[in-house]
């Protein structure tokens, strides 16, 4: 019985991922656009921050490595906010959301596909952006502990899935995903120490940073890649991140179910 359920779940995940990957590769212009825009967005963030730094930091490889891993971490946060919410929104727009919700498929798995295509994008970005950092600034991006980095990235994506599901439920409820996502994205980037260690935050903000799951994800990513100090001992931080991810996925699942029920009762599932 359990194995049958698992088989169905895997089948649903496969179908969802298959569809998302097919859509992703259907528009090669997206991929080309991403490749062209990524170095430009990197400059959008690097130039203004350089204005605040002394000249010796302009030449320091560490400055650019911080930016590189900061941009990667930003992608993880964006994935959390846009993947599930964005998938729900696009199903609403093309008028297929009601049909999907008529099936007995798992509600989180149903929109998991977008996370798969986002992950493909993230892998391409990792490789491509390191090349861009090398070409623009002559800095070779280091990865000191590749296995730990892989684990940290996987756990970060799991946390993104959970956070994205909670946010997806909000999209289903308030209909417009972009508005809140844009504000939330900046708040998380500042709060979670995407471009700097959270220990540099003002004292009254620092405790809030410890509540956000992405703080640990970003801290671990930077530790694995650059060898920076972690907020907690690394194994403990991994455990905290894993627990956070599991809790967020459970919360997201419950939130999606609840909002779906309310929307169905009010007949507003397909409204957007």
């Amino acid at each position: 019985m359990a194995s049958t359920s698992a088989r169905w779940l895997l089948l649903e995940a496969y179908a969802s991922a298959y569809k998302a990957v097919k859509v992703y590769f259907r528009y090669p212009a997206w991929i080309v656009g991403d490749l062209l825009a990524t170095p430009l967005w990197l400059l959008v963030f690097i130039y203004p921050v350089l204005m605040f730094l002394p000249y010796d930091k302009w030449r320091s490889p560490e400055t650019y490595e911080f930016f590189y891993w900061g941009m990667v971490s930003w992608s993880v946060i964006s994935t959390a906010l846009w993947s599930i919410g964005g998938a729900i929104r696009s199903e609403q727009q093309v008028g297929t959301l009601e049909q999907l919700f008529l099936t007995n498929a798992d509600r989180v798995v149903l929109f998991l596909g977008r996370l798969v295509s986002s992950s493909i994008g993230l892998i391409i970005e990792l490789a491509y952006m390191s090349l861009i950092v090398y070409l623009l600034f002559g800095v070779q991006v280091r990865v000191l502990n590749p296995p730990l980095l892989a684990v940290a990235l996987l756990l970060s994506l799991a946390a993104s899935l959970g956070f994205g599901s909670v946010y997806g439920a909000l999209v289903l409820h308030v209909k417009s995903p972009g508005a809140v996502a844009n504000i939330l994205q900046f708040v998380l980037v500042i709060l979670c120490g995407v471009f700097y260690p959270v220990s540099r935050l003002p004292d009254f903000v620092e405790p809030l940073a410890y509540l956000a799951p992405f703080t640990y994800a970003i801290d671990l990513i930077r530790h694995a890649a650059m060898g920076t100090d972690t907020l907690l001992p690394a194994p403990l931080e991994l455990a905290v991140l894993a627990l956070y991810s599991a809790a967020l996925v459970a919360l997201g699942y419950a939130a999606l179910r609840r909002v779906e029920l309310v929307s169905k009762r009010r007949g507003k599932l397909g409204f957007y």
Partner: protein, 281 residues
């Protein structure tokens, strides 16, 4: 004469209909207002917080040495406001055709007797009005708090420059809208154009730090000129009427950009019609 007047009246009706429709979309999602009002503050806050976190107390001193003012937040706020208006215009105008494709209503628009140029071009009116209002509303608190604004006349002239600067921005948005006919998925093109304009318009840094050839590219962007005029007027207390070079450059762009946009639109739309690809996406 009567025929001309009737054509004008019909086109005004089309523009009004488009205006009402787009305004309804705007008002339907009121949360977006909050996003746009806060966007310049979030961007400025992000750079400011990164700078202060990395350089500590010396951050503003370094900033002042590189940029020429210690009012880092206002400097970034003005740039970020122009950045927001640019992104809004390019994205919203550019995505208008895509939205019709997704809803399956593009062909219906084409079977009406409305002038298609007016039909798609009118989209700029509601989006222009909204983005200008949002920029005013967003900058107003900072300006009202007296973050260094001098002459009210210069403020008014600076904002007028922003209004004139919208014309080339409309045109870029229109080019993206026309591109949708060709590439179907405008997001990719929009993303590159947005990133290019955001990276090289000097929204949050002086373009003098760029290599010389890139400074020339930057000066060809209307956003660079508008940002410099606004910053000179609001932050550096320079008189707008003394910036004849910038103002005449902006006026030239206000003519050149629409002409290029019109030419590209006619070409790509004609091609899509010939191939029967108008409604495909």
């Amino acid at each position: 004469m009567r025929r001309v007047l009737r054509a004008l009246a019909n086109n005004a009706l089309v523009a009004r209909a488009v205006f009402m429709r787009e305004m309804m979309y705007w008002l339907r999602y009121p949360l977006w207002f909050l996003t746009f009002l806060s966007f310049p503050y979030l961007i400025s806050g992000l750079f400011y917080s990164i700078g202060c976190a990395v350089s500590g107390e010396d951050a503003i001193r370094y900033f002042s040495e590189r940029v020429g003012t210690d009012r880092a937040f206002l400097y970034n706020l003005i740039g970020s406001a122009v950045m927001m208006i640019a992104i809004l215009m390019i994205e919203d105008v550019g995505h208008s055709i895509r939205a019709e494709q997704l809803r399956g209503t593009l062909e219906y628009n084409y079977v009406t007797a409305a002038n298609k140029l007016v039909l798609w071009g009118s989209v700029v009116l509601p989006h222009g009005l909204m983005s200008l209002s949002l920029v005013f509303a967003s900058l107003a608190p900072a300006l009202a708090l007296g973050f260094g604004v001098s002459n009210p006349l210069d403020v008014a002239l600076g904002l007028l420059a922003l209004f004139v600067g919208m014309v080339p921005l409309f045109s870029i948005g229109f080019i993206v809208a026309a591109l949708t006919f060709r590439f179907k998925e405008p997001w990719a093109v929009t993303n590159v154009i947005k990133a290019f304009i955001s990276a090289f318009s000097g929204f949050n840094y002086p373009i003098t730090i760029l290599p010389l050839w890139l400074q020339w590219v930057s000066r060809a962007l209307p956003t660079t000129v508008v940002t410099e005029i606004l910053r000179d007027a609001l932050l550096f207390n320079r008189r707008v009427h003394a910036m004849t070079h910038h103002v005449s450059l902006l006026a030239f762009m206000g003519i050149a950009y629409p002409l290029v946009a019109l030419g590209l639109y006619r070409r790509w739309e004609g091609e899509a019609r010939r191939r029967g690809e108008l409604g495909k996406y």
